[in-house]
């Protein structure tokens, strides 16, 4: 396994080891490029994962303090927990459910397709579906996505069978067990799914794709990748010419270290990435690195979400088997006649008793609430994933009233639902309820959004420097050797779970970086 010197300024430093950072690190290493990947969290093995919701949460989640503001429901229910993401090697690919959906072609061109939506800062991506198709294909092959590459889809569990029965009764056609990066048969040294029901807690089978055991070990095997766990980056440094020179991070002992770099790729998720850029302000970049246009942290997106849980007269045991066991895609299209632009996916979801008590109706108490929980074993559930509107005022900014243990300002996450988001959520709630009522639900519950798992858009990709933070390659408009490699580059969010797109972009970015470096253009 490689070990690089702190003063080795020929390495690429990748900050974060999740879908973006973990994939980029491996891809670069495969091309012979030396990489130091810095991960704030610890390194675990699949055997360390815990089939217990709260214990696993304490084990894996990013629980450093953050604050919230805005009218979104999460700020009321979970004021210090805007997002449920992971701090560990593998990042949120340890926790993700595995849904791997491509953007629809029109979603790359949201501004052109949806028009000028009042209050929304819509923009077309500088890339399109045709350009991304081969990178998606590589990502699906890498991740072993079911329903692609002749990989059979997973069998549906009880939760899915109810969704399927209700949805088809309503006339929905695109109903199936999804495109999941969970092995339906052994592949790529990973076992097949045993339907544990703990996808969110880290897959103990290793059946679900994660950079932790899929990408990173392969990168390390090349001798070109060194992953440093418990390396919490506090600042990205630059020279007088405005070129990035390296990063400062706190190691596991809290000691500050300086790793030099030829270039830096930032992949800390849409909350930490802008926070680090803003915290890296200097005389040359007084408003933060790559923030000359004032765009860093803006256009925070989190998908229009919500859940529908239904109670039946007979047992379901929704917790048995994959968490996202199936999908209804008919509403993912753009059809403004429904009263909003963009679309949404409906995907099964399941929570165990501990999380159901916390998230079903946050703040509720008394007999109405407990009567529903008493019927837990008779419940089915689905989650709404819809495109939300980017708004300049929805943003990650520094809350200078609070410092982390390294003295750096923490992140505040501000979000207000757009009228389009609210119209979409209402429609999705109505359709979700109708699905379950079609198969005899005795009670339907509309559950407000959980802390965000899809955090997007805070360093968005734009053709023009004044509209965003990075160009079509994820290279910051302002700093030539600084790249962003996570979901924060999303110009718009689409209706799809973002991981596949993040991975496809990272593979594409690695190819571009290798070209730049070999031609000595960077």
């Amino acid at each position: 396994m490689a070990k690089f010197d702190l003063n080795d300024d020929s390495v690429v430093v990748v900050i974060g080891s999740g879908a973006g950072g973990g994939t980029l690190s491996n891809e670069l290493a495969q091309k012979g490029i030396k990489v130091v990947c810095l991960e704030a969290g610890g390194r675990f093995d699949t055997s360390d994962f815990i089939n217990d919701e709260w214990a696993s949460y304490a084990h894996l989640a990013w629980t450093d303090k953050r604050t919230t503001s805005g009218s979104w429901r999460v700020a009321q229910d979970f004021p210090e927990l805007p997002a449920w993401i992971v701090k560990a090697v593998g990042g949120t690919t340890t926790h993700w459910a595995g849904a791997s959906l491509r953007f629809q072609d029109h979603e790359w061109k949201a501004r052109s397709t949806y028009g000028d939506i009042k209050g929304a800062a819509l923009l077309d991506w500088p890339i399109d579906g045709a350009e991304m198709a081969p990178w998606y294909a590589k990502a699906e092959s890498k991740m072993g996505t079911t329903g692609t590459n002749d990989i059979p889809r997973l069998p549906g569990n009880n939760n899915y069978k109810i969704l399927h029965a209700g949805a088809t009764k309503l006339g929905y056609k695109k109903v199936h067990t999804g495109n999941m990066s969970i092995n339906s048969q052994p592949r790529d040294d990973r076992a097949s799914c045993q339907q544990l029901g703990f996808c969110f807690q880290g897959c103990k089978m290793g059946a679900k794709w994660s950079t932790l055991y899929s990408e990173i070990p392969k990168g390390e095997a090349t001798g070109n990748l060194e992953v440093r766990a418990h390396a919490y980056v506090v600042q990205i440094e630059h020279d007088a010419g405005g070129k990035v020179t390296g990063v400062v991070y706190a190691d596991g002992d809290g000691k500050m270290q300086r790793q030099k770099a030829r270039l830096v790729a930032l992949a800390g998720n849409s909350i930490e990435s802008p926070r680090l850029l803003l915290n890296s302000h200097s005389a040359l970049f007084p408003h933060g690195l790559a923030n000359g246009a004032g765009q860093v942290g803006r256009h925070y997106m989190r998908h229009t979400t919500g859940s529908v849980y239904a109670v039946f007269d007979k047992p379901v045991h929704m917790y048995r088997g994959t968490t996202m066991a199936g999908i209804v895609q008919d509403e993912a299209r753009n059809d403004p006649s429904r009263g909003y632009v963009g679309g949404y996916e409906l995907e099964t979801i399941s929570l165990g008793i501990p999380f159901m008590a916390a998230f079903l109706e946050p703040g509720s108490w008394g007999r109405d609430f407990t009567a529903t929980l008493d019927a837990y074993d008779n419940m089915a559930g689905l989650w709404i994933v819809g495109e939300d509107m980017p708004q300049a005022s929805n943003r990650v900014s520094l809350n200078t009233d609070f410092k982390d243990k390294h003295g750096m300002s923490i992140a505040n996450v501000h979000y207000d639902d757009h009228a389009n988001d609210e119209a979409m959520r209402s429609h999705a709630f109505k359709q979700g309820a109708a699905i379950y009522e079609a198969v005899g639900a005795s009670k339907v519950l509309l559950t407000p959004p959980y802390p965000s798992t899809h955090n997007l858009g805070t360093n968005r990709m734009s053709e023009k420097p004044e509209d965003g933070v990075v160009n079509r390659w994820g290279q910051t408009h302002e700093v030539k050797n600084l790249f962003i490699s996570d979901g924060s580059v999303f110009t718009t969010g689409g209706a799809e779970n973002p991981t596949l797109t993040i991975v496809a972009l990272a593979i594409r970015q690695a190819d571009h970086l290798a070209g730049l470096m070999s031609r000595n253009e960077i």
């Binding site: 569990n157 339907q195 703990f198 045991h317 501990p354 916390a358 407990t370």
Partner: protein
């Protein structure tokens, strides 16, 4: 379908505590009272502890759940608040506050009010207090994260050691039309 047995098997102590049998043993075991805890609380004395256990059940009433789960939940919250000078008096003061509210509305201490609906009315009157907020939010984890309680809701908990659900009913639904 493979269904889960949610039945509560009442242990001897619980049986004695909650039935007429309790009266028979009360003479020889006078320490057994309705809501008493096996272990004393850290921040609350005995009568107030029983008030808190009653409040705990009224917040999240599940008739099938034995009292021991509510007692454990109160103990967990008690341990949490005992760790900070800011909260160490929260439960003891809160129990006094709750009894005061009960006396004001119903003319008697909280635990003496026989009707759940009337106790809930008292709880609603203190809903905006930090004490209520801590008890309510604390209960969500202190109650529902007790592992031996899960099965009573039909939730089977960890599955990896049992080989997951692939061969144990993940797709065994048999009642769909």
């Amino acid at each position: 379908m493979r269904v889960v047995d949610k039945t509560t098997r009442v242990g001897r102590r619980e049986f004695l505590r909650t039935t007429a049998g309790a009266a028979a043993v009360a003479a020889v075991a006078p320490t057994v009272s309705g809501q008493a805890l096996a272990e004393p609380l850290k921040t609350v004395t005995s009568p107030a502890a029983a008030t808190l256990v009653q409040m705990a059940r009224d917040l999240y009433p599940h008739d099938a759940l034995p009292t021991k789960f509510y007692q454990s939940a109160v103990s967990i919250i008690d341990t949490e608040v005992s760790g900070s000078a800011d909260t160490i008096n929260l439960l003891a003061d809160g129990a006094v506050e709750l009894d005061a509210a009960a006396k004001k509305l119903k003319g008697m201490p909280y635990a003496a009010i026989a009707d759940e609906v009337e106790r809930v009315a008292v709880l609603k009157s203190i809903e905006s207090t930090p004490f209520f907020a801590r008890m309510r939010s604390g209960m969500v984890t202190a109650l529902y994260n007790q592992h031996d309680l899960w099965i009573k809701f039909g939730y089977e908990g960890p599955s990896f050691e049992k080989g997951g659900y692939l061969h144990r009913g993940f797709d065994d639904i048999d009642w769909l039309p």
